[in-house]
């Protein structure tokens, strides 16, 4: 099932092929996260100070790293698009940004729940990691809104690529914000730091499994969303072909 038609304002399109949106890799990603839930809930000890709420760590931080991964892929593919004008890079950037906002939404909902229990507040604006993460959420949301607002394919891809690259510049600031600002509620990193991780063995293992599981889920969702984008473009191309006839 291929087509090679050309939309107004685009470079020649490579032939498209509709593939299953949900294949074995998607279900593998889901299985990894289900396995992580079981490991975190039933086979990881409770934190002696925070109790069960600390287990939110095993989904909150890996989701944050998944969001970094998705937004970074969106920015990288945007650079590739601006360089090569390859529509596959634009489609992959779009898919990554959409998955990125899902992961960011999980970060921004699980974090305040945990924070309310441990810090006594759902949100504090002067904690830069919180505020910059929310800002990144708005930038990615703006990226998706922008894509929906521009009709011309090439113009949409170009403008949104610039926004994706600018948005990804926030990621190092979010990660380093605990070093850069004295006033903060977020703790210093316990794993992603220059020294040895300071988590006990079983907790560290669960965290690393969580990081792997959510990374696989992130890539599986990006892959599924990319394939859905191919399907959408195929439907659009067929419609244009019929209009031309």
């Amino acid at each position: 099932m291929t087509t090679g038609s050309l939309r107004a304002g685009t470079v020649p399109r490579a032939s498209l092929e509709a593939r299953p949106v949900f294949d074995w890799f998607f279900w593998f990603g889901v299985a990894c996260v289900v396995g992580l839930y079981v490991r975190a809930m039933y086979f990881t000890p409770l934190d002696s100070l925070q109790g069960a709420a600390q287990k939110i760590y095993y989904i909150h931080v890996p989701s944050a790293l998944g969001a970094y991964l998705a937004v970074s892929i969106a920015a990288l593919m945007s650079i590739v698009y601006l360089w090569l004008h390859d529509e596959r890079a634009d489609r992959l950037a779009e898919a990554s940004a959409e998955v990125g906002i899902v992961f960011l939404s999980v970060v921004l909902t699980t974090g305040p729940l945990w924070g309310h229990q441990i810090w006594g507040a759902y949100w504090v604006w002067w904690d830069m990691r919180l505020t910059l993460t929310l800002f990144l959420w708005f930038v990615v949301a703006a990226y998706l809104v922008l894509r929906g607002a521009i009709e011309d394919d090439a113009q949409r891809a170009r403008y949104s690529a610039v926004l994706a690259i600018l948005g990804a510049l926030l990621i190092p600031f979010i990660h380093l914000s605990v070093y850069l600002f004295q006033a903060r509620l977020h703790p210093m990193p316990v794993v992603l730091k220059p020294d040895k991780p300071s988590l006990p063995g079983e907790m560290l293992t669960t965290f690393l499994l969580g990081f792997a599981a959510f990374s696989v889920l992130c890539i599986a969702l990006i892959r599924a969303r990319y394939r859905m984008g191919v399907l959408r473009d195929l439907v659009g191309d067929r419609g244009l072909e019929r209009a031309d006839d």
Binding site: A18, I56, R232, R242
Partner: protein, 43 residues
Amino acid sequence: MIDTTGTYHAGYAVATIVYVGYMISLWSRARRLRRQLDGQNDE
């Protein structure tokens, strides 16, 4: 140790709802597109 089980359950439930909700949204959009494509092929 304080009992924080409610928060822990709420965190896991919220994360599950967001991820599964997105998967359902993907499935629903893909199914609609697949039907449109099949309809175009039939014509």
